[in-house]
């Protein structure tokens, strides 16, 4: 609830920055859209993470928590953040589990996007 009322990490990073991975998951038609961005520094750690979310309080809180947890972690380390951890931490009811699943998917896609930009 606090994460919904006062969510951290709202905002956007420069999509064209080589060090930024961006994802947009969900669809307005389904009631939830999460745009998640991560910025990776020269040590391979996530130095910044931002999100924008269309959805209910649970979707907003899940996105906020997800971005917060990625900070300072490597791309390998963030793979261990699972939707269940988010759901448990926020005590999401069963009908809201999809919000945490979407947040996990958003992170995965953002990492993929960063990697595809940086494979040479």
């Amino acid at each position: 609830m606090n994460l919904y009322l006062d969510p951290k990490n709202i905002g956007e990073l420069d999509e064209n920055d080589k060090n930024v991975g961006t994802s947009v998951v969900g669809a307005p038609a389904c009631g939830d859209v999460i745009k998640l961005q991560i910025k990776v520094d020269e040590n391979g750690k996530i130095s910044d993470a931002k999100f924008k979310t269309f959805g209910c309080g649970a979707a907003i809180a899940s996105s906020a928590l997800m971005t917060d947890w990625t900070l300072g972690k490597t791309l390998e380390e963030v793979k261990t953040i699972k939707n269940k951890d988010i759901a448990d931490h926020l005590s999401l009811p069963p009908v809201k589990l999809h919000c945490s699943v979407l947040a996990e998917e958003a992170l995965e896609k953002a990492v993929e996007n960063y990697l595809s930009k940086n494979k040479e």
Binding site: M1, Y4, L5, P7, I10, V24, P28, A29, C30, G31, D32, V33, I34, K35, F51, K52, T53, F54, G55, C56, G57, A58, A59, I60, V95, K96
Partner: protein, 411 residues
């Protein structure tokens, strides 16, 4: 939060009991507690209370005879009794029930139950403003039709159906016509003599929860198979001991509604205008769902581009309103009513129903509008679908959804 700060704006869901209604009920709990079906002095006192209530209800809905009022536990039972009762009674020869997709769940589910008993259910198309297609009705009604069921006013968008025209078609073709008038009664004129069956509920008109009625016409006389069996009360259609206190409260609620309907309608229309003007002045890309001219007073259904309905509700915890989005209820199903009138999913997910009523004040309207504006702005700032270039995924196709040009501002 203290009750004092709560703004109740969900009058389509239920209404508070009017103090005058409660007053009228009190004698029948501890003092005149008799069984209205008993043949002694206590019984006859309770009986008098019940019959007085029957008269008050009959008067409000313009029934010719108070005997046409059958007490039930509420509109859900009334709708079930009307649909299942008529279908089962006349179902030997007639196998078709005609209704529409924006009916209340209890009508749709009762029809589905009849489908399982071998009836064919015909769904009439509805316009984008929620009005049923009269030509389609004319074509659908035939000698196979056992019942037409079309609500008077919709519970989500407030639209009022052309009951006179529907009645004309049904009368001409000799088919019973049922209307769920739970949302309409007391707010707009209803006329039971135009229909064969009419469902009404007490708690939507400042009466107690737990009681409703089904009007069952005597001329032409409609018969039906009861839902359950017992002592044969209520002309054999609804067995069980009546609750005199609830009946008295229901009757009083009808009496008050009849005398205050006109002034209340004017007041609610003024408050609704005031609310909408504030919202449209403070926010752009807000859309009015339903038909503004053809609605019950006090029912407002709005979609706020770029934000989700339940998200808004969480931001205004002291305002009681209702959301048409997927997340409100356990069902996770977005509003089937808005879907049926052709609203896009993102419009449905962004919708809120705001219901004003007897105890809504201008001060509350102002406070609620400004809180909603703040909550929407905050959520739009964090919404990934709130950029002008994204507007077409929401905006353009739903221009036609709005029933009102005068309020709309474009972004």
């Amino acid at each position: 939060m203290s009750t004092k700060n709560i703004i109740y704006m969900d009058y389509q869901a239920t209404t508070p009991c009017d103090k005058r209604v409660l007053e009228s009920m009190l004698p029948y709990f501890c003092d005149d507690f008799g069984n209205p079906h008993s043949n002694h002095v206590m019984g006859s006192r309770a009986h008098e209370a019940v019959e007085k209530a029957r008269d008050q209800i009959a008067k409000l809905i313009k029934a010719n005879n108070a005997r046409e009022i059958i007490f039930t536990s509420g509109a859900t039972e009334s709708n079930n009794l009307a649909i299942c009762g008529v279908a089962r009674f006349y179902g030997e020869k007639r196998k078709k029930i005609i209704t529409d997709p924006i009916e209340h769940k209890c009508v749709l589910e009762a029809c589905r139950a009849m489908e399982r008993e071998g009836f064919e259910i015909v769904m009439l198309p509805v316009s984008e403003k929620g009005l049923i297609d009269l030509n389609a009705l004319e074509k659908a009604v035939d000698e196979q039709t056992v019942l037409v069921s079309v609500m008077t006013a919709n519970n989500e968008i407030g639209v009022v159906q052309p009951i006179d025209e529907i009645s004309g078609i049904c009368r001409r073709k000799n088919v019973p016509f049922h209307t769920d008038a739970a949302q309409a009664v007391g707010k707009t004129e209803v006329d039971a003599s135009k229909v064969d069956l009419m469902s009404i509920s007490a708690h939507k008109i400042y009466g107690p929860k737990g009681i409703g009625a089904l009007y069952v016409g005597l001329n032409p006389r409609i018969k039906l198979t009861p839902l359950f069996f017992g002592g044969g009360q209520e002309r054999g259609m609804r067995s069980g001991t009546l609750a005199p206190a609830l009946c008295a409260g229901f009757g009083k609620a009808c009496e008050i509604a009849a005398s205050e309907m006109e002034s209340e309608r004017a007041r609610l229309t003024m408050l609704k205008d005031r609310f909408l003007k504030k919202i449209f002045a403070g926010l752009d890309r807000v859309y009015l769902n339903g038909d503004e001219k053809q609605g019950i007073p006090g029912c407002i259904n709005l979609s706020f581009f770029g934000v989700e309905g339940e998200g808004i509700m969480l931001g205004i915890p002291d305002i009681c309103i209702s959301s048409g989005s997927a997340c409100t209820s356990e069902s996770l199903e977005p509003s089937y009513v808005l879907k049926a009138i052709g609203a896009r999913d993102e419009v449905i997910h962004s919708s809120l129903r705001i219901g004003l009523g007897r105890f809504t004040t201008a001060e509350e309207v102002d406070r609620a509008a400004s809180k909603i504006i703040t909550a929407v702005k905050r959520l739009r700032a964090m919404s990934p679908v709130w950029k002008e270039e994204d507007c077409e995924i929401f905006g353009k196709s739903n221009e036609s959804l709005s029933g009102s040009e005068k309020y709309r501002r474009t972004g």
